[in-house]
Amino acid sequence: MSGINRRSLMAMSVLGATMGLRGAPAQATPNGYPENYQKIIEDAQREGSLLIYSIMSPENWRPVIEGFNKLYPKIKVETLDLPASRESFERYLAERSTNSRTCDLIATADPGGWIDFQQRGEILDYASPEAEAWPDWSKPFPGVYTVSSDPMALIWNNTLVPEAKRPKTLAEFVELAVSNEKAWRNRVTSYGVHQTTFGYGISYAFVKKHGEKAWDWFAQLAKLSPRFERSGGPMTEKVTSGEYVTGWFVSAITFWPRLNDPARARILGWSFIGDGQPVVLRGVAIPKGSKNVNAAKLMLDYIISEDGQRAFGRGGLTPARPGVKPGDGIRHTYSSIVQAVGEQNICYIGYDRDAVRDYDTFLARWKKTFNVA
């Protein structure tokens, strides 16, 4: 009952102005794609619609959908942005079990969810013509590709953290926090491992890199009774307003777009984490229950194409496709992060089966360390 999808209408009316909506020319196959791709395009246009479940916001999607509709104006794209990363799978599975309409494409950052999804055999093994441009770490399972590689950063309120003290590594961050233990109590923030899979993935990967030292850092931070949030948005808001002083492992893509406001940019400072830069990989795949398989294939191919990657970059995500450079409204890309911290310091929040296995023990230790229920 969504009535008319204004977004696609908007995109279509813009297009209508340039090329005339009726009698749009037949879609040409993109360069370097196989011969039979033309058939996928035709079938997709017959399907005419596409429903995506994702963890991204409408802002993130907008340039992508605009770019996609430039290529395929007849396909109406709808996205459902679910706040919890696991929810896309949950909703799909519940709908799939009743054979009701479900999504055609899933894009979310939830390694455990993807592993489980793969074990259930729900992923369509689609070989994208764009796949060859991507490294192995970005293609964990047949049919699963990577949307973006989003870094988790340190943030602080510039008015509360003097310039000379601003941290560049987690070691410096912990040192700074501990030296302000009294004043910063309840005013440091991060993701709670006990609250979101997203938070679990980041902390798990970081601990895997640093071992006991990481736990020691966490124990130091626990003295300040940090406040845990479920998403980067509130962390950014609250650090800007001074409710919090600083945060670690904050999703950079939530605050980068907000830094375009000069008033906010004066207040909000940030840094990559030089001694272990967590990078969250967002997966995308076509589920077997997809009713508009061909439209989904077109979208998946577009998302991992150079053009689609740049579009997601403009929408605020961090393009993961190697070779895509910042600029043109894109603040950072996988390549520029590697340049900033060095390849050896990146910890991928990838598709680590150990992370699924160790969840309970890790969680128990985390809860004990931070004294949370």
Binding site: M1, T98, R227, R230
Partner: protein
């Protein structure tokens, strides 16, 4: 009866449609069945899921009772129960104290502006706790306007919203109107005979108040206390906004976190916790029934023959008036005002002059993304159509329960009131499962019709509360007259009872419209792309930290509800208490 009258009546009866044999029974059974199905639909799947070892849409489930054991052994679950209990208790204490004081002060004294304060005091109940908590956050949050102001003068702020007492304060203020309404409508507050007697015996104002008025209010206070305790148990917004970051979990946030936001959604655990919650609330509602018997099931605000003499406050008049003004300003006017102001600014801080940050950009970006206009539109549709459907249903249930000789009317009455004992979160989870289980319903899952169904089920008791009193006051002679002339039950109801009920049905519709418009807990598990409503979008925008957008959207909600309430009270004289 005169000759002419009987001829006209005869003519009228001749004009009546001929009764169809069995029609009454069919309508009554059909409606009863529909009601039972609607109310059982969410509950059975929840019960079913609670005794399964895996998600009910998986294959190969086994029956098990281990979920209950697992729940009790869940780390920190004891603390969750304790927090929930403390939160609900504190909420109840605060709301009952404030509500009773307000009822006496605004209803029984000669304080200036008492009526105006009384009106303003009710406002929190028209808005959702969600909107109210955003308002409080803007003023009293750690980076709130007043907090920063106080901090710049003193060292540190004297309050902390991120605590059980802080949360209970907001919840208490938002629930105080319930206590107030029950006190105001209790017979004793409008029946001055005993107070007069006390005065004659030489008791002063305070003594009369303490020894006569307040004790007489006790039943109303106790009754609404159970109601508010129940609300305290099922509140989601306040614990989610303030409790979660501070690591304070209550049962609703436990359900929310384990239901949709966890690494491994544990449906067995969620359903079991929901069942537990259901059981507790059932006991409470049963207790409520026992407390006052069935006579006070419905509140009526009728006129009384004598007007009670207001207590004379004499020298305390103005100080108390000032005190009330401060209270109303601090709890209602400022939070809502700040929320509205925040909607028109890029940030709100005492360090920055408001003129520097004024902007329409929040509204501009609200209109930019389809999801916001769509959720506003959906809220209208759900409230209007849902309100009509629910009102029709409530009207039929009411006449079957109260004005028919239907065999099962007593059990039906009980069933129709049962949703009072079903927390919104539980109803939402239940409908989610129900639509996942029943083949053929899947198509409705991503539409607003599932919301209409869930909201209708959840608020049948509220609707009945608006219709039943009038039906109880209406003399049965009308329908008897029609029946003796040969009309069947349906004709008598359709031609006589329901038309007479029109004012109550209109009131019922307006109450349901407002209730549906602000409802969000029931919808949290049910909305999908295209079927978002304002409440769910507010919550999502909040979790993404879009404070400006949240304020803008909340402003729309406040405005719509404000217009509805004002219009309803001005034009129709509807009593919006349910």
């Amino acid at each position: 009866m005169s000759l002419e009258a009987s001829t006209t009546l005869g003519a009228a009866v001749d004009a009546l449609p001929k009764p169809l044999p069995g029609r009454d029974t069919a309508i009554q059974y059909g409606m009863a069945l529909l009601t039972v199905v609607l109310i059982a639909a969410p509950l059975l799947p929840v019960l079913y899921q609670s005794v399964l070892d895996r998600a009910l849409y998986d294959s190969g489930q086994q029956f098990t009772l281990s979920n209950f054991g697992r729940l009790l052994h869940t780390d920190g679950f004891g603390l969750v129960i304790w927090n929930t209990f403390v939160f609900a208790t504190l909420t109840t204490l605060i709301s009952q104290t404030l509500g009773t004081l307000a009822a006496v002060l605004f209803g029984r004294t000669d304080m200036p502006f008492a009526r105006l304060f009384g009106e303003l005091f009710l406002w929190p109940i028209y808005l959702s706790a969600l909107v109210l908590s955003f308002g409080w956050y803007t003023i009293y949050g750690p980076a709130g306007y007043l907090t920063l102001l106080i901090q710049s003068i003193f060292d540190g702020a004297p309050w902390n919203l991120y605590s059980l007492p802080g949360m209970a304060m907001i919840a208490g203020v938002s629930q105080a109107p319930v206590a107030y309404i029950y006190c105001m409508s209790s017979a004793s507050i409008t029946d001055p005979t005993l107070e007069e007697a006390a005065r004659v015996a030489g008791a002063g104002t305070l003594r009369t108040l303490w020894r006569i008025t307040l004790p007489l209010l006790l039943p109303a206070v106790a009754y609404s206390a159970v109601l508010n305790f129940t609300v305290g148990l099922e509140l989601l917004a306040i614990p989610l906004v303030f409790g979660d970051p501070a690591g304070i979990t209550v049962l609703t946030t436990f359900l929310y976190n384990n239901g949709v936001a966890s690494a491994r959604p544990d449906h067995g655990l969620v359903a079991t916790a929901a069942v537990l919650m259901l059981a507790v609330v059932c006991v409470l509602v049963w207790l409520q029934g026992r407390l006052l018997g069935n006579t006070r099931r419905f509140v009526t605000l009728g006129g009384k023959a004598t007007r009670p003499r207001p207590f004379r406050l004499s020298r305390l008049r103005w100080p108390l008036c000032l005190f009330s003004a401060i209270y109303i300003t601090a709890t209602v006017v400022m939070p809502i005002g700040a929320l509205l102001l925040r909607a028109f600014t890029s940030l709100l801080s005492p360090m920055v002059p408001v003129a520097d940050v004024l902007t329409f950009s929040n509204f501009a970006s609200m209109l930019e993304y389809p999801v916001y206009p769509r959720s506003i539109w959906n809220s209208f549709i759900v409230s209007t159509l849902g309100g009509v459907v629910a009102t029709a249903m409530v009207g039929l249930i009411a006449i079957i329960i109260l004005r028919s000789d239907f065999r099962w009317r007593a059990p039906l009455h009980y069933v129709a009131l049962f949703p009072r004992a079903v927390p919104g979160v539980v109803a939402g989870i239940g409908f989610f499962y129900a639509f996942a289980l029943v083949p053929g319903l899947g198509g409705l899952r991503n539409t607003i019709w599932i919301l209409v169904a869930a909201f209708t089920m959840h608020f049948i008791p509220v609707g009945l509360g608006a219709v039943a009193p009038m039906l109880l006051q209406m003399s049965p002679d009308f329908d008897r007259a029609a029946r003796t002339q040969g009309a069947d039950w349906w004709t008598a109801s359709w031609r006589i009872v329901l038309p007479l009920l029109r004012p109550a049905l209109v009131a019922c519709f307006i109450i349901l419209f407002i209730t549906f418009f602000k409802e969000y807990t029931t919808a949290i598990f049910l909305f999908a792309p295209g079927s978002e409503v304002i409440g769910t979008t507010l919550l999502q925008a909040w979790t993404q930290g879009e404070v400006g957008l949240v304020s803008a959207l909340a402003t729309v909600q406040v405005l719509v509800i404000g217009i509805c309430v004002t219009a309803a009270r001005a034009i129709l004289g509807v009593k919006l208490y349910g």
